[in-house]
């Protein structure tokens, strides 16, 4: 683990933020949220723990860390490639290490962590004993990889969870799943008065065991459904061998035992974080319900929607839309505007979970009846293979002149050049892009995931009274998205009405300062408690 301190001796931070694969090295919604929280709460001291997969894979920080961050540490659950066959000294050392462990025979281990890993997979519930056994971290990676006791657990889990899988596959998947966990459990965590994880998963586990070890509170803000997002990744993962893969184009209704094993593992990590957290923040009611269905206790859940900065000048005294910018038509209902191509934007990373392919297909369908100028705005380097497939799809549909990949752009430029924003994600929590589009007075077409529906149609009675600010479509349904695009392209008035409602909704319920105030209160209550 690397630890880089802002000062020579870092004072104990009030809040340690546990960040898995995000801030400050990865741009995106969660990172933006973290940056806002840290920047807008200058009176709170933060330690940041960045948790990643492999050292060196994240590049330079994408954000300038504010001064109230006392410590930035990095923790990696994998450390890099193994020594080559020619590295004899390393191989001998490895042989000696394996031999040392293999010398001590017997299927029984005193390790409570090993017992906890077993219960984590087999038990339905999570209790204090399970989390504190994990927090003991009394199982070395060498013991996990080479001891008889660990093998006894592997065989038991195999027989109970995946008896139809190839044992060799199960064995390696077990190692791949648990070696990173042990590395995380054994790593030191910055000392802090409280721990705040922005996801479940590995960060949630680290937060839970840190909380147990220090007897300090854990907060959890779940921006997305970690378990579901992992499930989506697992359903597409080529590194899991299915006994009968079938037609790769058709989703398999019965996931393979190994996919189920991984899924159960991630679900267990989520339950551990839910169990240990003092408070669990949801971004919306829909997410809150789903968190409960995944095992989050209802009494710990509270809703704090994300917010975006809304310039005061953007909203008139009545909450009506401010004077239009020069690029906007004087009369939105002017039929002459219909001849201009509708400027459609997809704002986000070009990755499978955003289902960019469905977006492209929807645009292709809509282009058969209306004129569109489509921009895909966002980085495409996270999953280059997927990005290539998306570009190939555009080429195959011969839509290069209408659909363009323009890469990342500054937020300030994005919305001024668009008429409609579209999201086709498989999974989201509370996408900032909807709030940003709403603040810019743009209508949004979004799939019915996370809290998108309540962001577009209203969460409470007063909210709903503002009217819809966009259209909600079905997941992975290009026709549905295309129909919404066609509808909006054909009615500048409708776009204006939806955009106005969005602007009013963001101003009323999703302002950044509202969110910051609520987190300030939450931190204060947590630290005082």
């Amino acid at each position: 683990m690397d630890r880089r301190s802002a000062t020579a001796i870092a004072p104990r931070a009030q809040v340690c933020l546990l960040l898995e694969g995000t801030y400050p090295y990865v741009a995106g919604g969660v990172s933006s949220w973290v940056h806002r929280i840290v920047s807008d709460l200058p009176e709170v001291s933060f330690a940041l723990l960045h948790i990643g997969a492999v050292r060196g894979s994240y590049g330079a920080p994408r954000y300038t860390v504010p001064a109230n961050v006392t410590e930035l540490s990095e923790l990696y659950c994998q450390t890099g490639p193994s020594p080559g066959p020619a590295d004899l000294a390393a191989r001998r050392e490895l042989e000696r290490r394996i031999h040392r462990v293999r010398r001590h025979r017997g299927p029984v281990s005193a390790s409570r962590t090993l017992a906890a890993l077993r219960r984590m997979h087999l038990g339905e519930g999570v209790d204090d004993a399970l989390v504190s056994d994990l927090a003991r971290a009394d199982l070395s990676i060498a013991e996990l990889l080479h001891s008889d006791a660990a093998f006894a657990v592997i065989t038991e889990l195999y027989e109970r969870l995946a008896p139809d899988a190839a044992f060799l596959d199960f064995f390696w998947h077990f190692r791949a799943m648990h070696a990173p966990l042990l590395r995380l459990l054994a790593a030191p965590v910055p000392d802090a008065d409280s721990y705040h994880t922005v996801s479940t998963g590995y960060a949630g586990l680290v937060g839970a065991v840190a909380s147990v070890r220090t007897n300090r509170p854990l907060l959890l803000t779940e921006h997305g459904f970690y378990t579901r997002e992992r499930d989506i990744e697992l359903s597409r993962a080529a590194w899991i061998r299915d006994p009968d893969p079938g037609d790769p184009r058709i989703p398999n209704p019965r996931p393979s035992p190994l996919r189920r094993f991984w899924s159960r593992g991630f679900a267990a990590l989520s339950r551990i974080a839910y169990h240990q957290a003092q408070s669990i923040v949801s971004l919306g009611d829909n997410l809150r319900q789903q968190q409960m269905s995944y095992g989050a206790p209802a009494d710990k859940l509270l809703v704090i929607p994300n917010g975006v900065a809304v310039p005061a000048s953007a909203v008139g005294a009545t909450g009506k839309r401010a004077p239009a910018d020069p690029a906007e038509p004087a009369d939105p209902a002017d039929p002459g505007d219909r001849s201009r191509a509708l400027r459609v934007g997809f704002v986000g990373r070009v990755v499978p979970i955003k289902d960019v392919a469905t977006f492209i297909k929807a645009c292709d369908l809509a282009l058969r009846s209306v004129n569109l100028d489509v921009h895909i705005i966002g980085p495409d380097d996270e999953d280059p293979a997927y990005a290539r497939r998306c570009k190939a799809l555009v080429a195959m549909l011969a839509r290069e002149s209408h659909i363009r990949f323009v890469g990342p752009k500054p937020a300030a430029q994005i919305y001024a050049e668009l008429d409609v924003v579209v999201l086709t994600s498989f999974s989201e929590s509370q996408p900032l892009v909807i709030l940003e589009a709403g603040a810019a007075g743009l209508p949004v077409i979004a799939t019915d995931v996370g809290v998108c529906r309540e962001m577009l149609e209203g969460r409470t009675g007063d909210d709903r009274a503002l009217g819809p600010s966009g259209r909600v479509t079905r997941v992975a349904d290009p026709e549905d998205t295309a129909a919404a695009l066609t509808e909006l392209a054909g009615s500048p008035r409708l776009r204006a009405e939806l955009g106005e409602a969005g602007r009013a909704r963001v101003h009323a319920y999703y302002r950044s300062n509202q969110m910051i105030d609520r987190y300030r209160a939450l931190y204060r209550a947590t630290l005082e408690a």
Binding site: T79, R97, H99, R102, D169
Partner: protein, 461 residues
């Protein structure tokens, strides 16, 4: 040996007694022919010397041959096993073209190295110059023979080995007679003739290996460490050490007797031991045939099930089958050896006297024949350990055997009891240890197979 298992399977599959007999005869030829034929040549010379006057030098010739073989086989054992393993690995990878160049280098090094070993040996045993000058030649020839045997065993058919050593034996005996009687060289003629005959055997093996190796060399441009012999010596250092210890253990009792009880008793004991060791040939044949057929099938079945995506139950069943096979081979070998040992013990007097050994050799002969039973168990155990690549365990067993043999023989000499009792005791102890290790390893075969695997980046923690 390439394809030998398949050939043996075919012989046995006939279902006839003749087929099975042919299979076990092949096993006997493969495992025992070289040293059997070499010993036949020595015994023949011994008998010839008995009938000829003026052979006062002959015991010295026998001593030179014995010491030369002992030194060469002990020092050559690590090289032979590493080169043999290297060749086996390349054959497994279906890259026989990568064997030739490293083999030639190893052969050149062997010839050069053992000429120096021969000079040192000749100096140490203080042989007269006419005899001493044959020592380096004999060490070079024996070293080269066994190196080629290690590689040729995997490449050539048993007939090639048989032809080479058969011709070597004939030339050894004929050469000895010609040089001793026609050329009038006396006992020296025996040594020179024997050396020439062994050179013929080495040449036969070399020709057989050259014919078996494909043209070309694919090792030169290979960036990986696999085809390099130097890497093989580092990679298989434990294997080399256990081969050295095993080979030294075979001579440790004789050496201790020589040092503590005198040369005369050592010579008698060594001769008796050489004769008694013939008793293991039937068990060797059984072990070889069973290992190459039924055991190999079970072995491939176990690992094939793992690699083929079998469930745990099937993997465990494969391990159980492998355990059964190992037990069966061990039981069979012990049963055969017990029968042969009983027969040998019954006829020990006549056997010893028939080859003109003194009566004092009868007790050592009996004791060494008895020791052959636990030694065979140790051998089977070591083979199984090597089969499962448990080099560290094999080294522990071999070292224990070496230390035990030396210590027990020394103790027997000190107590004034027949030194062979020490050999029996040490061999029994080694057998018990190897049985315990093998039983334990076979019991935990599944766990060991999986949990001994290294995992990507664990070294970098």
């Amino acid at each position: 040996m390439a394809g030998i298992g398949w050939r043996l399977e075919r012989m046995i599959a006939h279902g006839s007694l003749a087929g099975s007999f042919a299979a076990y005869l092949t096993g006997a030829a493969v495992t025992s022919a070289p040293w059997l034929l070499t010993t036949v040549a020595l015994v023949a010379m011994h008998l010839l010397a008995r009938t000829h006057a003026g052979m006062g030098e002959f015991p010295q010739v026998e001593q030179i041959v014995t010491v030369t073989y002992a030194v060469t086989l002990v020092l050559g054992a690590p090289v032979h096993i590493v080169v043999s393993r290297y060749a086996a690995d390349r054959l497994y990878e279906r890259r026989p073209a990568a064997i030739a160049a490293p083999l030639y280098r190893a052969l050149a090094m062997t010839l050069l190295g053992f000429s120096l070993v021969g000079l040192v040996t000749a100096t140490l045993i203080a042989a007269p110059l006419p005899l001493a000058c044959a020592v380096p030649a004999l060490t070079v020839v024996v070293g080269g023979q066994w190196l080629l045997l290690g590689v040729g065993g995997g490449l050539c058919s048993p007939a090639v080995v048989l032809r080479a050593f058969g011709a070597g034996t004939v030339v050894s005996i004929a050469g000895a007679i010609v040089l001793e009687r026609a050329a009038g060289l006396g006992a020296r003629g025996f040594l020179y003739g024997f050396t020439a005959g062994q050179a013929v055997a080495m040449t036969g093996m070399l020709i057989g290996v050259l014919c078996a190796l494909p043209d070309g060399d694919d090792s030169a441009g290979d960036p990986g460490p696999g085809p390099r012999l130097g890497f093989a010596f580092r990679e298989y250092r434990l294997l080399a050490a256990s081969a050295f210890a095993s080979q030294l253990a075979m001579w440790a009792d004789k050496l201790m007797i020589w040092l503590l009880a005198g040369r005369d008793l050592a010579v008698i004991y060594a001769s008796a031991a050489a004769l008694a060791w013939f008793s293991v040939i039937p068990a060797f044949a059984w072990i070889f045939v069973e290992l190459e057929t039924a055991f190999y099938r079970a072995f491939r079945g176990f690992y094939g099930a793992i690699e083929g995506g079998a469930g745990l139950a099937e993997v465990a069943a494969g391990a159980a089958a492998l355990r059964r096979e190992a037990t069966r081979i061990l039981h069979g070998a012990v049963a055969i050896q017990l029968v042969v040992t009983a027969l040998v013990l019954v006829g020990s007097d006549r056997l010893v006297l028939a080859i003109d050994l003194p009566r004092a050799a009868i007790t050592p002969f009996r004791l060494v024949a008895l020791a052959a039973v636990p030694q065979l168990v140790t051998l089977v155990g070591m083979i199984l350990l090597h089969y499962f690549d448990l080099r560290r365990d094999a080294l522990v067993v071999a070292t224990t055997h070496l230390v035990g043999c030396a210590a027990a023989t020394a103790a027997a000499c000190a107590l004034g009891i027949p030194p062979g009792i020490g050999s029996v005791t040490a061999s029994t102890l080694s057998a018990a240890i190897v049985l315990r290790v093998v039983t334990s390893r076979l019991r935990t075969l599944v766990a060991d197979t999986f949990q001994s695997q290294p995992y990507s980046d664990e070294l970098l923690d």
